[in-house]
Symmetry: C2
Subunit: 248 residues, 2 copies
C-alpha cells in the first residue's frame, strides 16, 4: 500500500493509543568490522532516510516506548538505551505532511525524545515496518541526507556518546564478548573522532584494570594471532561509577 | 483564592494554550555564603514543597518555555539553562488531584522535562505565583520533603551538575564575577560531594590557566585579605570544549 493511504488509515487509532505531540527517535549504534554503524530506514514513496522512531502509548513510560519501538525494528530485547535530549523546534517537521488533512495524526507538532541505543551487531535482525521500504546499517562516515532534523539528532547522539565514554558502559555494549585491543582502540578512536597513540592506549587500559586477558587468541589471518580480552564487568562498573580520568 | 478554585478556573484556558501531557520542572541553583542553594516553592493549601514548574505553550520550544517559567518566578533573563532528563513514570502525580473532575488540566498524565538553571544569586527577585504561598532559597543540605517525584528530579539535576562540572561553564554561572579561591573550591566540593585537598585544588586550577588574578583583594574581615580572581572566559570556554581531565 502506498505511504499516504497507510498513514491516513492509521491516524484515528493513533489518536486513541498515543500521547499527542510526543515522539521518540532512536539512534541505534552497532560496531562491525572496525566500523561504527547506525540503523537507518527509508520512508516509502518519499524516498527520504530517517532514524527509526515511533510514539508513546498512553500507558508507556519513555523507556518502555523506546524498547517497544526497537524491538519491533530489530527483534532485540534488553537493548542498552539512554535518552539524551528532546528536540522541540517549532518547524522541525515542516512540509512533510503538507498534502494531508489537518486532522492527520502525523501532521501534529511533535516534540521528539532522542534515545541512543547500543546493540551487539550479531543479535539484531532488521525488520521493515509498513511505511518503510529499506532498513539498513550504515557506517557513520557514509550517512545519507536525513529528513527533518534527524541529522541533528544523530550528531547530538554521537556527541553524547563521546561525553559518556568514560562513565557509561559503552565499550561493553558495543563490542562482542571477546575482542582484541586494536578493536577496542578503534572503537574509542571512532567515537572520539581522533587517532590515539597505541602504546598510551594500551597502558591506560591496562592501568584501569577493567579487562581480563583470555587464554585463547583470535584464529585465522596471516599474522600472529592477537590476544583476546573481555571486560571484567564488576571492575568496569566500579570504574565507571568513579569516572575514568576524572581526577578531583 | 484557594488552590482548588484557582486551578479549576485556569483549566479551560490551559487546554487551549499549552501542549497537553507535557510539563517543565526547573532545578534552580544559586551559590551564596559558601552554600549551594536551590529554589523551592510551597503549594497553597496543600502545604507541600515543589520545584518551580509550568507548561509548554503551543508556540514555545522547550527552552523558551523554561525561560518564560523562570522569568515569571525570578525576574531574571538570560539564565543559564540545560535540559537533563524527561521524567515519565506513569504514577508520578498519583493522588494529587483525586478530589477534582477528570477533565481538569492538572489531572492529566504529565511527562515532565527537567531543566537545571544556574543563576547569580544577586540578580534574582523571587516572585510568588497564585498557587504558591512561599518561594525561597534553601541549602541543598536542608531540603524539605517534596511532592511527587521532585526529589528524584533534584537528585538527577545535581548528578548532572557533577558530571558536567568539567565541560560546562558551571563555576562561571554560579559565582559572582569576582571570587576567592576558597569560594571556588567550596563550590567544587559541594557539587562533587567530597572534600578536596587545598594544595592540589589550587595547583590544578592554576595549571588549567582559566583564572585571572585581580589586583584588588577582598575587603573586611580580621585576617589577611584573600586574593580575588575572575574567569578568563575565552580560555575557560576553550578548556571546557576540550574537557578538563579528559586525557585521551
Amino acid at each position: 500500500m502506498e505511504f499516504k493511504k497507510i498513514v491516513e488509515e492509521k491516524s484515528a487509532a493513533a489518536w486513541k493509543k498515543y500521547i499527542p505531540n510526543l515522539s521518540v527517535d532512536c539512534v541505534v549504534f552497532g560496531f562491525q568490522e572496525a566500523s561504527l554503524k547506525v540503523l537507518i530506514t527509508r520512508i516509502k514513496d518519499k524516498n527520504v532516510w530517517a532514524l527509526p522512531g515511533g510514539y508513546v502509548l498512553k500507558e508507556d513510560n519513555l523507556k518502555e516506548a523506546a524498547n517497544r519501538i526497537l524491538y519491533q525494528r530489530t527483534g532485540a530485547e534488553n537493548i542498552y538505551l539512554q535518552q539524551f535530549k528532546i528536540f522541540s523546534d517549532l518547524n522541525r517537521s515542516n512540509g512533510l505532511f503538507d498534502d494531508f488533512e489537518d486532522t492527520l495524526w502525523n501532521k501534529q507538532r511533535f516534540l521528539s525524545v532522542g534515545f541512543y541505543a547500543l546493540v551487539d551487531f550479531q543479535q539484531v535482525n532488521l525488520v521493515m515496518d509498513d511505511i518503510s521500504d529499506a532498513c539498513e546499517w550504515i557506517s557513520i562516515e557514509d550517512l545519507p541526507d536525513f529528513m527533518m532534523d534527524h541529522r541533528e539528532i544523530f550528531d547530538k547522539a554521537l556527541e553524547t556518546l563521546r561525553r559518556q565514554l568514560n562513565h557509561k558502559p559503552i565499550g561493553y555494549n558495543l563490542l562482542p564478548e571477546k575482542f582484541t585491543m586494536p578493536e577496542l582502540q578503534k572503537l574509542y578512536e571512532i567515537i572520539l573522532g581522533k587517532k590515539l597513540n597505541r602504546g598510551n592506549f594500551y597502558r591506560k587500559m591496562l592501568r584501569y584494570d577493567i579487562l581480563e586477558k583470555l587464554e585463547e587468541s583470535r584464529k585465522g589471518g596471516a599474522h600472529k594471532a592477537p590476544d583476546l580480552y573481555k571486560f571484567d564487568i564488576e571492575k568496569y562498573q566500579m570504574a565507571l561509577t568513579n569516572g575514568f580520568n576524572e581526577g578531583w
